[in-house]
Protein backbone atom coordinates (compact mmCIF):
# COMPACT_ATOMS: atom_id res chain seq x y z
CA UNK A 1 0.00 0.00 0.00
CA UNK A 2 1.42 3.34 -0.99
CA UNK A 3 1.18 6.32 1.30
CA UNK A 4 -1.11 8.91 -0.15
CA UNK A 5 0.96 12.08 -0.31
CA UNK A 6 -0.57 14.77 1.86
CA UNK A 7 -1.41 17.73 -0.29
CA UNK A 8 -2.68 21.22 0.29
CA UNK A 9 -5.33 22.87 -1.84
CA UNK A 10 -4.01 26.05 -3.48
CA UNK A 11 -5.56 29.42 -2.81
CA UNK A 12 -7.64 30.80 -5.68
CA UNK A 13 -6.26 33.65 -7.71
CA UNK A 14 -7.53 36.98 -6.45
CA UNK A 15 -7.63 39.97 -8.76
CA UNK A 16 -8.00 43.35 -7.11
CA UNK A 17 -10.36 45.53 -9.06
CA UNK A 18 -10.69 49.27 -8.63
CA UNK A 19 -13.20 48.77 -5.81
CA UNK A 20 -12.88 45.25 -4.42
CA UNK A 21 -11.29 41.84 -4.71
CA UNK A 22 -12.52 39.18 -7.13
CA UNK A 23 -11.90 35.46 -7.46
CA UNK A 24 -11.80 33.42 -10.65
CA UNK A 25 -13.95 30.41 -11.40
CA UNK A 26 -12.98 28.35 -14.43
CA UNK A 27 -14.39 25.26 -16.10
CA UNK A 28 -12.84 23.64 -19.15
CA UNK A 29 -13.95 21.52 -22.06
CA UNK A 30 -10.94 19.74 -23.49
CA UNK A 31 -11.34 18.28 -26.96
CA UNK A 32 -8.91 15.43 -27.47
CA UNK A 33 -8.58 13.68 -30.79
CA UNK A 34 -8.80 9.91 -30.44
CA UNK A 35 -5.59 8.25 -31.68
CA UNK A 36 -7.39 6.10 -34.24
CA UNK A 37 -6.52 5.20 -37.82
CA UNK A 38 -10.00 5.79 -39.20
CA UNK A 39 -12.72 8.33 -38.39
CA UNK A 40 -15.52 7.93 -35.85
CA UNK A 41 -18.23 7.03 -38.35
CA UNK A 42 -16.39 6.43 -41.63
CA UNK A 43 -13.45 4.44 -42.95
CA UNK A 44 -11.50 7.52 -44.06
CA UNK A 45 -8.00 8.08 -42.67
CA UNK A 46 -7.28 10.50 -39.81
CA UNK A 47 -3.69 11.12 -40.91
CA UNK A 48 -2.56 14.69 -40.35
CA UNK A 49 -1.17 16.76 -43.21
CA UNK A 50 -2.72 14.92 -46.16
CA UNK A 51 -3.65 16.67 -49.42
CA UNK A 52 -6.86 18.70 -48.93
CA UNK A 53 -10.07 16.69 -49.11
CA UNK A 54 -8.26 13.41 -49.75
CA UNK A 55 -9.10 11.84 -46.37
CA UNK A 56 -12.81 12.22 -46.93
CA UNK A 57 -15.42 9.51 -47.39
CA UNK A 58 -18.90 10.18 -48.74
CA UNK A 59 -20.21 9.86 -45.16
CA UNK A 60 -17.95 12.73 -44.05
CA UNK A 61 -19.01 14.87 -46.99
CA UNK A 62 -22.66 14.20 -45.99
CA UNK A 63 -23.63 12.82 -49.37
CA UNK A 64 -27.32 11.89 -49.41
CA UNK A 65 -28.09 8.40 -48.21
CA UNK A 66 -24.76 7.77 -46.53
CA UNK A 67 -25.02 6.27 -43.06
CA UNK A 68 -22.60 6.44 -40.13
CA UNK A 69 -21.10 3.21 -38.71
CA UNK A 70 -19.25 3.60 -35.43
CA UNK A 71 -15.56 2.80 -35.06
CA UNK A 72 -15.35 0.37 -32.12
CA UNK A 73 -11.75 1.34 -31.35
CA UNK A 74 -12.85 4.94 -30.71
CA UNK A 75 -15.43 3.71 -28.21
CA UNK A 76 -12.75 1.66 -26.50
CA UNK A 77 -10.46 4.69 -26.23
CA UNK A 78 -13.22 6.78 -24.64
CA UNK A 79 -13.83 4.03 -22.09
CA UNK A 80 -10.10 3.77 -21.45
CA UNK A 81 -9.83 7.50 -20.93
CA UNK A 82 -12.78 7.40 -18.54
CA UNK A 83 -11.16 4.61 -16.54
CA UNK A 84 -7.91 6.62 -16.46
CA UNK A 85 -9.83 9.48 -14.82
CA UNK A 86 -11.51 7.15 -12.31
CA UNK A 87 -14.82 7.93 -13.94
CA UNK A 88 -18.10 6.10 -14.14
CA UNK A 89 -18.49 4.24 -17.43
CA UNK A 90 -22.02 4.32 -18.79
CA UNK A 91 -22.91 0.98 -20.36
CA UNK A 92 -25.74 2.74 -22.15
CA UNK A 93 -24.96 5.86 -24.14
CA UNK A 94 -26.50 7.45 -27.20
CA UNK A 95 -25.75 9.93 -29.97
CA UNK A 96 -27.51 13.21 -30.61
CA UNK A 97 -27.44 15.75 -33.40
CA UNK A 98 -26.23 19.23 -32.57
CA UNK A 99 -27.56 21.42 -35.34
CA UNK A 100 -25.75 24.43 -36.77
CA UNK A 101 -24.63 25.71 -40.11
CA UNK A 102 -21.02 26.31 -40.91
CA UNK A 103 -19.13 25.63 -44.16
CA UNK A 104 -16.77 23.12 -42.53
CA UNK A 105 -19.69 21.00 -41.27
CA UNK A 106 -21.33 19.55 -44.37
CA UNK A 107 -23.97 17.56 -42.47
CA UNK A 108 -25.41 20.70 -40.94
CA UNK A 109 -25.10 18.97 -37.57
CA UNK A 110 -22.42 17.44 -35.42
CA UNK A 111 -23.04 13.96 -34.04
CA UNK A 112 -22.33 14.23 -30.32
CA UNK A 113 -23.59 12.80 -27.02
CA UNK A 114 -25.60 15.38 -25.08
CA UNK A 115 -28.12 13.36 -23.12
CA UNK A 116 -26.30 10.08 -22.54
CA UNK A 117 -22.50 10.47 -22.58
CA UNK A 118 -20.37 7.32 -22.54
CA UNK A 119 -18.40 8.46 -19.48
CA UNK A 120 -19.83 10.07 -16.35
CA UNK A 121 -18.23 11.68 -13.31
CA UNK A 122 -14.57 11.27 -12.51
CA UNK A 123 -11.69 13.34 -11.20
CA UNK A 124 -8.20 14.53 -11.99
CA UNK A 125 -5.51 15.59 -9.53
CA UNK A 126 -3.71 18.64 -10.83
CA UNK A 127 -0.27 19.04 -9.24
CA UNK A 128 0.81 22.63 -8.88
CA UNK A 129 3.89 22.43 -6.67
CA UNK A 130 5.33 19.78 -4.37
CA UNK A 131 2.63 19.22 -1.75
CA UNK A 132 0.09 21.43 -3.52
CA UNK A 133 -2.61 19.99 -5.78
CA UNK A 134 -6.12 20.78 -6.94
CA UNK A 135 -8.65 18.00 -7.41
CA UNK A 136 -10.70 18.90 -10.47
CA UNK A 137 -13.94 16.98 -10.90
CA UNK A 138 -14.70 15.67 -14.37
CA UNK A 139 -18.37 16.02 -15.20
CA UNK A 140 -18.45 13.81 -18.27
CA UNK A 141 -16.57 12.61 -21.32
CA UNK A 142 -18.44 12.15 -24.57
CA UNK A 143 -17.61 11.12 -28.10
CA UNK A 144 -18.27 13.47 -30.99
CA UNK A 145 -17.22 14.32 -34.52
CA UNK A 146 -14.68 16.99 -35.32
CA UNK A 147 -15.48 19.60 -37.96
CA UNK A 148 -13.36 20.43 -41.01
CA UNK A 149 -10.88 23.21 -41.35
CA UNK A 150 -11.49 26.63 -42.86
CA UNK A 151 -8.55 28.59 -44.19
CA UNK A 152 -9.13 32.30 -44.39
CA UNK A 153 -5.82 33.69 -45.60
CA UNK A 154 -5.45 32.13 -49.06
CA UNK A 155 -7.84 34.46 -50.82
CA UNK A 156 -9.06 37.98 -50.00
CA UNK A 157 -12.73 37.21 -50.60
CA UNK A 158 -13.11 33.49 -50.08
CA UNK A 159 -12.59 30.97 -47.31
CA UNK A 160 -11.15 27.61 -48.32
CA UNK A 161 -12.56 24.47 -46.74
CA UNK A 162 -10.73 21.19 -46.19
CA UNK A 163 -12.86 18.32 -44.90
CA UNK A 164 -9.97 16.00 -43.96
CA UNK A 165 -10.62 16.54 -40.27
CA UNK A 166 -14.40 16.29 -40.64
CA UNK A 167 -15.68 13.30 -38.74
CA UNK A 168 -12.47 12.53 -36.86
CA UNK A 169 -13.33 11.21 -33.38
CA UNK A 170 -12.99 13.61 -30.47
CA UNK A 171 -13.35 12.96 -26.79
CA UNK A 172 -14.76 16.01 -25.08
CA UNK A 173 -13.63 16.03 -21.46
CA UNK A 174 -15.80 18.43 -19.47
CA UNK A 175 -14.60 19.64 -16.08
CA UNK A 176 -16.70 21.11 -13.32
CA UNK A 177 -15.93 24.74 -12.47
CA UNK A 178 -13.21 23.70 -10.01
CA UNK A 179 -10.25 25.52 -11.55
CA UNK A 180 -9.35 28.74 -9.76
CA UNK A 181 -6.46 30.42 -11.58
CA UNK A 182 -4.89 30.75 -15.04
CA UNK A 183 -1.96 28.61 -13.87
CA UNK A 184 -4.31 25.87 -12.69
CA UNK A 185 -6.07 25.91 -16.06
CA UNK A 186 -2.78 25.34 -17.88
CA UNK A 187 -1.79 22.68 -15.35
CA UNK A 188 -5.16 20.96 -15.79
CA UNK A 189 -4.65 20.87 -19.55
CA UNK A 190 -1.12 19.52 -19.03
CA UNK A 191 -2.38 16.84 -16.64
CA UNK A 192 -5.10 15.73 -19.06
CA UNK A 193 -2.49 15.54 -21.80
CA UNK A 194 -0.18 13.50 -19.57
CA UNK A 195 -2.94 11.03 -18.70
CA UNK A 196 -4.04 10.71 -22.34
CA UNK A 197 -0.47 10.06 -23.42
CA UNK A 198 0.05 7.45 -20.71
CA UNK A 199 -3.17 5.77 -21.83
CA UNK A 200 -2.24 6.17 -25.49
CA UNK A 201 -5.75 7.35 -26.34
CA UNK A 202 -4.65 10.71 -27.80
CA UNK A 203 -1.24 11.88 -29.01
CA UNK A 204 -1.70 15.20 -27.19
CA UNK A 205 -0.12 17.17 -30.01
CA UNK A 206 -1.45 20.70 -29.52
CA UNK A 207 0.33 22.17 -32.55
CA UNK A 208 -1.51 19.78 -34.85
CA UNK A 209 -4.77 20.50 -33.07
CA UNK A 210 -5.05 17.06 -31.40
CA UNK A 211 -5.95 18.88 -28.19
CA UNK A 212 -7.93 22.09 -27.90
CA UNK A 213 -9.86 23.63 -25.05
CA UNK A 214 -12.91 25.83 -24.57
CA UNK A 215 -12.53 27.77 -21.35
CA UNK A 216 -15.49 29.01 -19.29
CA UNK A 217 -14.65 31.95 -17.07
CA UNK A 218 -16.60 33.87 -14.47
CA UNK A 219 -15.63 36.00 -11.50
CA UNK A 220 -17.15 36.09 -8.01
CA UNK A 221 -16.57 37.76 -4.69
CA UNK A 222 -14.54 35.93 -2.03
CA UNK A 223 -16.78 33.43 -0.24
CA UNK A 224 -19.22 32.94 -3.12
CA UNK A 225 -17.39 29.95 -4.52
CA UNK A 226 -17.53 28.13 -1.19
CA UNK A 227 -21.29 28.80 -1.10
CA UNK A 228 -21.56 27.38 -4.61
CA UNK A 229 -19.72 24.21 -3.62
CA UNK A 230 -21.77 23.76 -0.51
CA UNK A 231 -25.16 24.16 -2.17
CA UNK A 232 -24.07 23.03 -5.66
CA UNK A 233 -26.05 26.00 -6.88
CA UNK A 234 -24.76 28.16 -9.73
CA UNK A 235 -26.69 31.19 -8.48
CA UNK A 236 -23.74 31.92 -6.19
CA UNK A 237 -21.42 32.29 -9.18
CA UNK A 238 -21.14 35.03 -11.77
CA UNK A 239 -22.28 34.80 -15.38
CA UNK A 240 -19.70 32.99 -17.46
CA UNK A 241 -18.23 33.61 -20.88
CA UNK A 242 -16.77 30.85 -22.99
CA UNK A 243 -13.53 31.34 -24.87
CA UNK A 244 -13.39 28.94 -27.79
CA UNK A 245 -10.68 26.88 -29.35
CA UNK A 246 -7.53 27.50 -27.34
CA UNK A 247 -4.57 25.35 -28.32
CA UNK A 248 -1.68 26.75 -26.33
CA UNK A 249 -1.05 26.66 -22.59
CA UNK A 250 0.40 30.15 -22.73
CA UNK A 251 -2.61 31.62 -24.53
CA UNK A 252 -5.03 29.85 -22.18
CA UNK A 253 -3.43 31.63 -19.25
CA UNK A 254 -3.28 35.00 -20.98
CA UNK A 255 -6.88 34.72 -22.19
CA UNK A 256 -8.22 33.87 -18.74
CA UNK A 257 -6.44 36.77 -17.16
CA UNK A 258 -7.56 39.33 -19.71
CA UNK A 259 -11.14 37.99 -19.78
CA UNK A 260 -11.43 38.06 -15.97
CA UNK A 261 -10.22 41.66 -15.92
CA UNK A 262 -12.73 42.58 -18.63
CA UNK A 263 -15.58 41.11 -16.58
CA UNK A 264 -14.40 42.79 -13.37
CA UNK A 265 -14.26 46.17 -15.10
CA UNK A 266 -17.84 45.74 -16.34
CA UNK A 267 -19.15 44.62 -12.94
CA UNK A 268 -17.42 47.40 -11.02
CA UNK A 269 -18.86 49.85 -13.50
CA UNK A 270 -22.33 48.66 -12.51
CA UNK A 271 -22.81 46.63 -15.69
CA UNK A 272 -23.84 43.03 -16.26
CA UNK A 273 -22.00 40.18 -17.94
CA UNK A 274 -23.74 38.76 -20.98
CA UNK A 275 -23.28 35.01 -21.33
CA UNK A 276 -21.61 34.61 -24.70
CA UNK A 277 -18.94 32.89 -26.74
CA UNK A 278 -15.75 34.84 -27.24
CA UNK A 279 -12.50 34.49 -29.13
CA UNK A 280 -9.05 35.32 -27.81
CA UNK A 281 -6.82 37.42 -30.03
CA UNK A 282 -3.21 36.85 -28.97
CA UNK A 283 -1.91 39.75 -31.08
CA UNK A 284 -4.06 42.31 -29.30
CA UNK A 285 -4.26 40.31 -26.04
CA UNK A 286 -8.03 40.75 -25.85
CA UNK A 287 -11.15 38.63 -26.12
CA UNK A 288 -14.02 39.59 -28.38
CA UNK A 289 -17.54 38.40 -28.92
CA UNK A 290 -18.26 35.86 -31.67
CA UNK A 291 -21.58 37.38 -32.63
CA UNK A 292 -22.39 34.79 -35.28
CA UNK A 293 -22.35 32.06 -32.63
CA UNK A 294 -25.05 33.71 -30.53
CA UNK A 295 -28.10 32.90 -32.62
CA UNK A 296 -26.66 29.49 -33.40
CA UNK A 297 -26.50 28.68 -29.70
CA UNK A 298 -29.93 27.19 -30.12
CA UNK A 299 -28.58 23.85 -31.28
CA UNK A 300 -31.93 22.02 -31.24
CA UNK A 301 -30.34 18.76 -30.10
CA UNK A 302 -32.26 15.60 -30.80
CA UNK A 303 -31.36 11.89 -30.79
CA UNK A 304 -29.58 10.91 -34.02
CA UNK A 305 -32.01 8.66 -35.88
CA UNK A 306 -29.16 7.08 -37.88
CA UNK A 307 -27.58 5.48 -34.83
CA UNK A 308 -28.93 3.02 -32.31
CA UNK A 309 -27.92 3.57 -28.70
CA UNK A 310 -24.44 2.37 -27.86
CA UNK A 311 -24.71 -0.52 -25.43
CA UNK A 312 -21.49 -1.99 -24.09
CA UNK A 313 -20.93 -4.86 -21.70
CA UNK A 314 -19.35 -4.66 -18.24
CA UNK A 315 -17.09 -7.58 -19.16
CA UNK A 316 -15.63 -5.56 -22.04
CA UNK A 317 -15.06 -2.59 -19.72
CA UNK A 318 -13.33 -4.91 -17.24
CA UNK A 319 -11.10 -6.24 -20.04
CA UNK A 320 -10.11 -2.68 -20.93
CA UNK A 321 -9.50 -1.85 -17.25
CA UNK A 322 -7.18 -4.86 -17.03
CA UNK A 323 -4.95 -3.39 -19.75
CA UNK A 324 -4.59 0.08 -18.22
CA UNK A 325 -0.97 1.07 -17.68
CA UNK A 326 0.31 2.42 -14.39
CA UNK A 327 -0.94 6.03 -14.43
CA UNK A 328 1.13 9.15 -13.64
CA UNK A 329 -0.13 9.61 -10.06
CA UNK A 330 0.50 5.97 -9.14
CA UNK A 331 3.89 5.94 -10.80
CA UNK A 332 4.91 9.10 -9.04
CA UNK A 333 3.84 7.74 -5.66
CA UNK A 334 5.75 4.53 -6.33
CA UNK A 335 8.92 6.43 -7.34
CA UNK A 336 8.72 8.40 -4.08
CA UNK A 337 8.16 5.27 -2.02
CA UNK A 338 10.42 2.77 -3.74
CA UNK A 339 13.33 4.95 -4.79
CA UNK A 340 13.16 7.53 -2.01
CA UNK A 341 12.84 10.37 -4.50
CA UNK A 342 11.56 13.84 -3.67
CA UNK A 343 8.10 14.67 -4.97
CA UNK A 344 9.65 17.17 -7.34
CA UNK A 345 12.09 14.65 -8.86
CA UNK A 346 9.40 11.98 -9.08
CA UNK A 347 7.18 14.50 -10.88
CA UNK A 348 9.91 15.35 -13.40
CA UNK A 349 10.69 11.69 -14.08
CA UNK A 350 7.05 10.67 -14.53
CA UNK A 351 6.15 13.64 -16.75
CA UNK A 352 6.07 11.20 -19.63
CA UNK A 353 6.08 7.45 -19.87
CA UNK A 354 9.31 7.21 -21.87
CA UNK A 355 11.33 9.22 -19.35
CA UNK A 356 9.87 7.17 -16.51
CA UNK A 357 10.77 3.89 -18.24
CA UNK A 358 14.28 5.18 -18.96
CA UNK A 359 14.77 6.11 -15.32
CA UNK A 360 13.49 2.77 -14.08
CA UNK A 361 15.97 0.95 -16.26
CA UNK A 362 18.80 3.13 -15.00
CA UNK A 363 17.72 2.72 -11.38
CA UNK A 364 17.18 -1.01 -11.63
CA UNK A 365 19.36 -2.59 -8.91
CA UNK A 366 21.11 0.73 -8.25
CA UNK A 367 20.81 3.74 -5.95
CA UNK A 368 17.53 5.40 -6.95
CA UNK A 369 18.41 8.90 -5.77
CA UNK A 370 21.76 8.83 -7.53
CA UNK A 371 20.07 7.53 -10.68
CA UNK A 372 17.44 10.30 -10.47
CA UNK A 373 20.13 12.97 -10.10
CA UNK A 374 21.97 11.69 -13.12
CA UNK A 375 18.91 11.33 -15.29
CA UNK A 376 17.49 14.74 -14.36
CA UNK A 377 20.60 16.88 -14.05
CA UNK A 378 23.10 15.36 -16.43
CA UNK A 379 21.02 13.57 -19.04
CA UNK A 380 17.95 15.86 -19.28
CA UNK A 381 20.19 18.92 -19.05
CA UNK A 382 22.35 17.68 -21.87
CA UNK A 383 19.39 16.56 -24.00
CA UNK A 384 17.81 19.98 -23.65
CA UNK A 385 21.03 21.75 -24.54
CA UNK A 386 21.42 19.65 -27.69
CA UNK A 387 17.73 19.92 -28.57
CA UNK A 388 17.29 16.17 -28.29
CA UNK A 389 14.65 14.08 -26.57
CA UNK A 390 14.78 10.99 -24.39
CA UNK A 391 13.97 8.82 -27.41
CA UNK A 392 16.96 10.14 -29.37
CA UNK A 393 19.36 10.10 -26.42
CA UNK A 394 22.80 8.90 -27.52
CA UNK A 395 23.33 7.50 -24.02
CA UNK A 396 21.24 4.40 -23.38
CA UNK A 397 19.80 3.54 -19.95
CA UNK A 398 22.26 0.65 -19.71
CA UNK A 399 25.20 2.93 -20.39
CA UNK A 400 24.05 5.52 -17.84
CA UNK A 401 23.36 2.70 -15.40
CA UNK A 402 26.90 1.46 -15.98
CA UNK A 403 28.31 4.86 -15.09
CA UNK A 404 26.25 4.92 -11.88
CA UNK A 405 27.43 1.43 -10.94
CA UNK A 406 31.04 2.62 -11.30
CA UNK A 407 30.34 5.59 -9.01
CA UNK A 408 28.61 3.41 -6.43
CA UNK A 409 31.45 0.88 -6.42
CA UNK A 410 33.90 3.70 -5.80
CA UNK A 411 35.69 3.01 -9.09
CA UNK A 412 35.29 6.58 -10.26
CA UNK A 413 34.57 9.88 -8.56
CA UNK A 414 31.59 12.07 -9.44
CA UNK A 415 33.88 14.40 -11.34
CA UNK A 416 35.40 11.63 -13.43
CA UNK A 417 31.90 10.31 -13.98
CA UNK A 418 31.00 13.54 -15.73
CA UNK A 419 34.00 13.15 -18.02
CA UNK A 420 32.98 9.55 -18.63
CA UNK A 421 29.41 10.65 -19.42
CA UNK A 422 30.86 13.08 -21.95
CA UNK A 423 32.85 10.29 -23.61
CA UNK A 424 29.87 7.92 -23.72
CA UNK A 425 27.67 10.71 -25.11
CA UNK A 426 30.13 11.50 -27.90
CA UNK A 427 31.71 8.16 -28.66
CA UNK A 428 29.44 5.52 -27.15
CA UNK A 429 30.89 2.32 -25.67
CA UNK A 430 30.73 0.40 -22.43
CA UNK A 431 31.49 2.70 -19.47
CA UNK A 432 33.35 0.02 -17.47
CA UNK A 433 35.55 -0.78 -20.45
CA UNK A 434 36.29 2.89 -21.14
CA UNK A 435 37.33 3.42 -17.52
CA UNK A 436 39.61 0.38 -17.71
CA UNK A 437 41.19 1.15 -21.08
CA UNK A 438 41.72 4.87 -20.45
CA UNK A 439 42.95 4.43 -16.91
CA UNK A 440 40.22 6.56 -15.38
CA UNK A 441 39.83 4.35 -12.36
CA UNK A 442 39.91 6.10 -9.06
CA UNK A 443 43.07 5.57 -7.08
CA UNK A 444 42.05 3.91 -3.84
CA UNK A 445 45.50 2.53 -3.23
CA UNK A 446 46.37 4.44 -0.05
CA UNK A 447 50.08 4.12 -0.70
CA UNK A 448 49.82 6.03 -3.94
CA UNK A 449 47.56 8.67 -2.38
CA UNK A 450 49.89 9.03 0.62
CA UNK A 451 52.82 9.64 -1.69
CA UNK A 452 50.87 12.33 -3.51
CA UNK A 453 49.81 13.94 -0.21
CA UNK A 454 53.39 13.91 1.05
CA UNK A 455 54.57 15.61 -2.12
CA UNK A 456 51.94 18.35 -1.85
CA UNK A 457 52.70 18.95 1.85
CA UNK A 458 56.40 19.15 1.15
CA UNK A 459 55.88 21.65 -1.65
CA UNK A 460 53.64 23.99 0.38
CA UNK A 461 55.13 24.58 3.84
CA UNK A 462 53.46 27.99 4.23
CA UNK A 463 50.01 26.52 3.57
CA UNK A 464 50.71 23.74 6.10
CA UNK A 465 51.19 26.33 8.84
CA UNK A 466 48.03 28.16 7.87
CA UNK A 467 46.01 24.95 7.75
CA UNK A 468 47.15 23.95 11.19
CA UNK A 469 45.76 27.25 12.47
CA UNK A 470 42.61 27.05 10.37
CA UNK A 471 41.52 23.47 9.57
CA UNK A 472 39.10 24.75 6.93
CA UNK A 473 42.09 25.26 4.63
CA UNK A 474 42.45 21.51 4.31
CA UNK A 475 40.50 21.86 1.07
CA UNK A 476 43.53 23.41 -0.57
CA UNK A 477 45.55 20.23 -0.06
CA UNK A 478 42.74 17.98 -1.19
CA UNK A 479 42.43 20.07 -4.36
CA UNK A 480 46.17 19.91 -5.02
CA UNK A 481 46.26 16.15 -4.54
CA UNK A 482 43.26 15.67 -6.83
CA UNK A 483 45.01 17.78 -9.43
CA UNK A 484 48.24 15.86 -9.06
CA UNK A 485 46.42 12.55 -9.54
CA UNK A 486 44.40 13.78 -12.51
CA UNK A 487 41.21 13.66 -10.46
CA UNK A 488 41.47 9.93 -10.05
CA UNK A 489 42.18 9.82 -6.33
CA UNK A 490 39.24 8.92 -4.15
CA UNK A 491 38.30 12.31 -2.60
CA UNK A 492 37.17 10.74 0.64
CA UNK A 493 40.44 8.88 1.07
CA UNK A 494 42.43 11.99 0.19
CA UNK A 495 40.53 13.99 2.77
CA UNK A 496 41.22 11.47 5.49
CA UNK A 497 44.90 11.11 4.67
CA UNK A 498 45.46 14.87 4.42
CA UNK A 499 43.80 15.41 7.79
CA UNK A 500 45.81 12.64 9.37
CA UNK A 501 49.13 13.87 7.95
CA UNK A 502 48.48 17.44 9.04
CA UNK A 503 47.49 16.17 12.46
CA UNK A 504 44.07 17.86 12.31
Amino acid sequence: MLDAPTTKTPAPKVISGAREDWELVIGMEVHAQVASNAKLFSGASTKFGAEPNSNVAFVDAAMPGMLPVINEFCVEQAVRTGLGMKAKINLFSAFDRKNYFYPDLPQGYQISQLYHPIVGEGEVTVDLAPGVARIVRVERIHLEQDAGKSIHDMDPNMSFVDLNRTGVALMEIVSRPDIRSPEEAAAFMAKIRQILRYLGTCDGNMQEGSMRADVNISVCRPGDYERFREADDFKHLGTRCEIKNMNSMRFIQAAIDVEARRQIAILEDGGEITQETRLYDPDKNETRSMRSKEEAHDYRYFPCPDLLPLVIEQGWVDDIAATLPELPDEKKARFINDFGLSEYDAGVLTADKTSAAYFEQVADGRDGKLAANWVINELFGRLKKEDQTITTSPVSPDQLGGIITLISKGDISGKIAKDLFEIVWNEGGDPAEIVEVRGMKQVTDTGAIEAAVDAVIAANPAQVEKAKANPKLVGFFVGQVMKATGGKANPKAVNEIVSAKLGL
Binding site: G43, P52, V69, I70, F73, V75, M158, L163
Partner: protein
Protein backbone atom coordinates in the same frame (compact mmCIF):
# COMPACT_ATOMS: atom_id res chain seq x y z
CA UNK B 1 -47.04 24.43 -26.50
CA UNK B 2 -48.03 26.88 -29.13
CA UNK B 3 -45.95 28.42 -31.88
CA UNK B 4 -46.32 32.15 -32.41
CA UNK B 5 -45.08 34.18 -35.37
CA UNK B 6 -41.82 35.04 -33.64
CA UNK B 7 -41.00 31.39 -32.96
CA UNK B 8 -41.86 30.42 -36.53
CA UNK B 9 -39.54 33.16 -37.82
CA UNK B 10 -36.77 31.98 -35.53
CA UNK B 11 -37.12 28.34 -36.50
CA UNK B 12 -37.02 29.25 -40.18
CA UNK B 13 -33.92 31.32 -39.61
CA UNK B 14 -32.17 28.57 -37.63
CA UNK B 15 -32.97 26.10 -40.41
CA UNK B 16 -31.74 28.64 -42.98
CA UNK B 17 -35.04 28.37 -44.86
CA UNK B 18 -36.32 31.58 -46.32
CA UNK B 19 -39.97 32.13 -45.45
CA UNK B 20 -41.66 35.33 -46.62
CA UNK B 21 -43.29 37.37 -43.89
CA UNK B 22 -46.82 36.82 -45.34
CA UNK B 23 -46.39 33.07 -45.22
CA UNK B 24 -45.35 32.94 -41.54
CA UNK B 25 -48.87 32.82 -40.05
CA UNK B 26 -49.75 29.75 -42.15
CA UNK B 27 -46.49 28.09 -41.17
CA UNK B 28 -47.06 28.77 -37.47
CA UNK B 29 -50.51 27.28 -37.80
CA UNK B 30 -49.13 24.14 -39.46
CA UNK B 31 -46.66 23.74 -36.64
CA UNK B 32 -49.45 24.04 -34.13
CA UNK B 33 -51.53 21.40 -35.89
CA UNK B 34 -48.58 19.01 -35.91
CA UNK B 35 -47.74 19.68 -32.28
CA UNK B 36 -51.37 19.28 -31.34
CA UNK B 37 -51.41 15.87 -32.97
CA UNK B 38 -48.24 14.86 -31.14
CA UNK B 39 -49.64 16.10 -27.86
CA UNK B 40 -52.44 13.57 -28.16
CA UNK B 41 -49.77 10.97 -27.59
CA UNK B 42 -49.25 12.42 -24.13
CA UNK B 43 -52.52 10.82 -23.14
CA UNK B 44 -50.91 7.40 -23.30
CA UNK B 45 -49.58 6.21 -19.95
CA UNK B 46 -45.96 5.18 -20.50
CA UNK B 47 -44.97 4.97 -16.84
CA UNK B 48 -42.33 2.27 -16.51
CA UNK B 49 -42.14 1.55 -20.25
CA UNK B 50 -38.62 1.47 -21.73
CA UNK B 51 -38.26 3.81 -24.72
CA UNK B 52 -38.25 1.76 -27.92
CA UNK B 53 -35.31 2.81 -30.04
CA UNK B 54 -35.60 0.26 -32.79
CA UNK B 55 -38.36 -1.90 -34.21
CA UNK B 56 -35.90 -4.72 -34.71
CA UNK B 57 -33.92 -5.99 -31.71
CA UNK B 58 -30.57 -4.93 -33.10
CA UNK B 59 -27.21 -4.02 -31.66
CA UNK B 60 -25.48 -0.89 -32.95
CA UNK B 61 -23.31 -2.03 -35.84
CA UNK B 62 -19.58 -1.41 -35.32
CA UNK B 63 -16.60 -1.14 -37.62
CA UNK B 64 -12.96 -2.02 -37.07
CA UNK B 65 -10.40 0.77 -36.92
CA UNK B 66 -9.15 0.25 -40.45
CA UNK B 67 -8.85 2.78 -43.26
CA UNK B 68 -11.17 1.50 -45.97
CA UNK B 69 -12.45 4.69 -47.54
CA UNK B 70 -11.47 8.11 -48.85
CA UNK B 71 -8.70 8.96 -51.29
CA UNK B 72 -11.04 10.33 -53.94
CA UNK B 73 -10.92 14.12 -53.56
CA UNK B 74 -12.10 14.60 -57.17
CA UNK B 75 -15.36 12.79 -56.37
CA UNK B 76 -15.81 14.72 -53.13
CA UNK B 77 -15.29 17.99 -54.99
CA UNK B 78 -17.34 17.02 -58.07
CA UNK B 79 -20.46 18.93 -57.05
CA UNK B 80 -18.73 21.91 -55.48
CA UNK B 81 -20.05 25.18 -56.95
CA UNK B 82 -16.55 26.61 -56.51
CA UNK B 83 -13.36 24.68 -55.86
CA UNK B 84 -9.82 25.99 -55.88
CA UNK B 85 -6.53 24.21 -55.30
CA UNK B 86 -8.31 21.19 -53.91
CA UNK B 87 -10.42 23.17 -51.44
CA UNK B 88 -14.10 24.06 -51.38
CA UNK B 89 -14.19 27.82 -51.89
CA UNK B 90 -16.96 29.58 -49.98
CA UNK B 91 -17.78 33.23 -49.28
CA UNK B 92 -15.48 34.50 -46.58
CA UNK B 93 -16.52 33.40 -43.10
CA UNK B 94 -14.27 34.95 -40.55
CA UNK B 95 -14.81 36.02 -36.97
Amino acid sequence: MSIDLETARKVANLARIKVDEDRLPAMAESFNTILGFIEELNEVDIEGVEPMVSVMPMRLKRRKDVVTDGGYPEKIMANAPDAREGFFAVPKVVE
